[in-house]
């Protein structure tokens, strides 16, 4: 048998198996086969291969597949939403905790992204992902990659009043990219990409650093990061079990210190989140110093949360201690802590930008077994303090309920929730309230965990009518509120809205919405990526 000279038409042989040949190609192939033993063997081999694959047969799917699909569809709105911010407050949270704990123990991480070391104190190593907006690696990206700014110009650092936001884009799980975007100039800087969406962010008063918290894949843990905006240096400051009241980020007035809360846990040696020096499931306040790049714990009680800084030249951190009756203390950083002031009944005070008031929580707390994941079990309500300048003999911490028309029959109230100040120290916003009682007023939907309630302290407290009426028209019923930030002039709020996810494999996504407080039309910021982006939270230059 002879073999024809020239290239063997393997592609035609392959295509012949499925009848994908033109008449001319068929003739050419037949002519070649007649004189080529090698190609006849190839045809035989391809034919056998095709038969072997074809007869492998269909495999019966698992019996529970339909139930899993159904559950997944129904649970779509819950995916990626922190468990304590889902409906039902503590009741629902209890059931979810087993899942969270199991996930954490199993270290079900969706990414093997390089993660910096978690410290027992010390200096975290900057990541190598420092890329400034002016460099080609950012500006040269094709739009399909989701780069938020193709032709950045101007500075990425925020001038007073300018708006910036984090944007997580790109192929999820394999090529995530994180950018901080200056919305005014279009410039962006790339940071080390996390493995999950961004839950909260806080800009240093100096504008030099951005602190933020991300979810760590689907592990049930969060990660705390600091980004130096000028050059993209990204520092990993620790991992924490996700728990209520751990998403607060606090900068000292001088921008030197940044405080955060970690719930200690060990996700395993390969997770990038090894155990720190704290006992598992204990909660402590940590501090990062921008000058030395060191981070360390400032408490050791295992029940301590970083709340906010007091005004003044000496950096003094308000630390809250969870317990049946929570309390707070003022911890001067770098000074002898012997003169601590104990503030009974006050939890997670958030001092206003002008330092004149604070929002805080009161109520009876309870924890999950093991003394972690504290939330309010009875009577949890947000309060606003009196004016620290003119409270007279009464303690300003007596305060008033932030919601004037909410009652707590039988102790039912908020398990947790979030609030923020406007820059003027008068505007306040409340959202994500996990109400565990019977809804009141507002056609039985008050308070609504999808609602954003905004008001001015000087003009009275929040009520059912404080809910932003224009926001519901711009979001779907299954969306959830991630974060709310006031613009510098107090005319709008920038709301990060998490979108429902189909669960494992479906990338997290969110929209960043500008919501006018005068009831005007809601507009969207960012979102110009072709991939599903996670845009937000937003921060404002000061």
């Amino acid at each position: 048998m002879t073999t024809r000279r020239g290239p063997h038409p393997d592609e035609l042989i392959s295509a012949s198996l499925t009848g994908d040949l033109t008449h001319a190609e068929r003739g050419e192939l037949n002519h070649h086969l007649a004189g080529c033993e090698i190609c006849r063997e190839t045809l035989d081999a391809f034919t056998v291969e095709r038969e072997l694959v074809a007869v492998m047969g269909e495999v019966e799917p698992p019996r529970d597949l339909a139930a899993r699909v159904r559950t997944g569809i129904e649970a779509g709105r819950q995916a990626q939403r922190p468990w304590w911010r889902r409906g039902g407050g503590l009741v629902a949270a209890g059931a979810s905790l087993a899942t969270v704990a199991a996930a954490a123990l199993a270290v079900v991480l969706v990414s093997n992204l390089p993660i910096g070391p978690i410290g027992q104190g010390g200096s975290p190593e900057p990541s190598a992902s420092a890329t400034t907006s002016g460099e080609a690696s950012v500006s040269g990206e094709p739009s399909a990659s989701g780069t938020p700014s193709e032709t950045p110009s101007g500075a990425v650092e925020l001038e007073p009043g300018q708006l910036g936001y984090l944007s997580l884009v790109g192929e999820p799980f394999t090529e995530p990219r994180l950018y901080f975007v200056n919305d005014a100039t279009g410039a962006s800087v790339e940071a080390q990409a996390p493995s999950g969406p961004i839950l909260s962010a806080a800009l240093a008063p100096t504008g030099e650093w951005l602190a933020y918290i991300t979810q760590k894949g689907e592990s049930g843990a969060n990660e705390v990061w600091a980004l130096r905006i000028s050059d993209g240096t990204t520092l990993h400051l620790g991992c924490s079990m996700a728990a209520p009241f751990t998403d607060r980020l606090a900068w000292s007035p001088d921008g030197v210190y940044f405080a955060y809360t970690l719930v200690a846990d060990d996700l395993g040696p390969t997770s990038g989140c090894p155990a720190n020096d704290r006992e598992a499931r204990t909660t402590d306040a940590w501090v990062f110093e921008t000058g030395t790049l060191e981070h360390y714990s400032v408490t050791g009680s295992g029940d301590a949360f970083a709340a906010s800084f007091l005004p003044g030249e000496a950096p003094t951190l308000l630390v809250s201690h969870a317990g049946e009756t929570p309390w707070s203390e003022a911890v001067p950083l770098g000074a002898d802590p012997s003169d601590l002031e104990r503030i009974e009944g006050v939890f997670m005070p958030l001092v206003s930008p002008d330092g004149n008031r604070a929002l805080f929580w009161r109520g009876t707390m309870a924890s999950e077994p093991g003394g972690w994941a504290w939330s309010f079990s009875r009577g949890g309500m947000p309060y606003v303090s009196g004016d620290f300048r003119s409270s007279g003999p009464a303690s300003p911490w007596l305060g008033e309920q932030l919601f004037a028309d909410l009652t707590t029959p039988g102790g039912a109230a908020f398990a947790a929730g979030l609030f923020s100040w406007g820059l003027d120290g008068d505007l306040v916003a409340f959202w994500g309230g996990a109400w565990n009682g019977t809804p009141q007023g507002g056609q039985g939907t008050y308070p609504d965990d999808q609602g954003v309630y905004v008001g001015r302290i000087g003009a009275g407290l929040l009520t059912v009518n404080s809910r932003l009426a224009n926001l519901p028209r711009a979001i779907d019923a299954q969306d959830w509120i991630v974060d709310v930030t006031f613009t510098a002039d107090g005319g709008d709020v920038i709301v990060t809205v998490g979108l429902p996810s189909a669960g494992i494999g479906d990338p997290p996504s969110s929209r960043l919405l500008r919501v006018p407080l005068d009831g005007g039309d809601v507009t969207q910021l960012g979102g110009d990526s072709e991939s599903k982006p996670w845009d937000g939270p937003a921060v404002i230059g000061r």
Partner: protein, 189 residues
């Protein structure tokens, strides 16, 4: 595995108000088995295949409104399944063939008669499966869609987002690689 001709009439007969849930139920009924099988051959592990199938149908449910051309349902659901499987593979970085991977099958002689005579049976299935799992993911997906699902190059192109010509080239390379892997499993052709 074969095309599902019943699906299209069912879709078109539906009335709009209840179409979504009914359409999805039919979609699931028609494709649960094939999609799970495709996922299993792609990722090589029953549990992960179930995850892929689950996520495929959840995504399909959410995106059902985007399926405007009802005749394209089969390509559409396979496209979702394929992308989901590729994501799954990327996340796990590598697919480990079941059984004694790395123990030198390439030296093992074919213990039985010719392969045409043993196209049934678990042993044969395992060897073909191992050969499949050693292919590159894009070769494997192409081969499965052609030889297991019986799709034409044009249909495979619809699933993978590739031209007819590119599919033919890819399929040829996949067959060549599969031939080598089968030889490593002891098939002598």
């Amino acid at each position: 595995m074969a095309c599902s001709p019943r699906l299209v009439p069912r879709f078109t007969e539906m009335t709009r108000p209840d179409r979504r849930s009914v359409d999805f139920e039919h979609l699931y009924t028609e494709f649960a088995g094939p999609i799970y099988t495709f996922a299993l051959r792609m990722v090589g592990d029953p549990d992960r295949a179930a995850d892929v199938a689950q996520d495929t149908f959840i995504k399909a449910y959410r995106k059902l409104d985007t399926l405007t051309d009802l005749t394209a349902a089969r390509s559409w659901i396979y496209r979702i399944a394929n992308n989901t499987a590729i994501d799954q593979i990327r996340r796990h970085r590598r697919v480990v063939p079941m059984g004694d991977e790395g123990s030198g099958h390439s030296q093992r002689p074919d213990p039985g008669p010719g392969p045409e005579a043993q196209v049934v049976g678990r042993v044969l299935d395992d060897r073909v499966e191992r050969a499949l799992l050693r292919l590159k993911a894009n070769h494997r997906q192409c081969l499965l869609l052609s030889d297991m699902e019986g799709m034409s190059a044009q249909q495979i192109g619809d699933v993978l987002g590739m031209s007819h010509g590119a599919v033919r080239t890819l399929l040829c390379r996949a067959r060549g690689e599969m031939r080598r892997q089968l030889a490593a499993e002891g098939f002598t052709r």
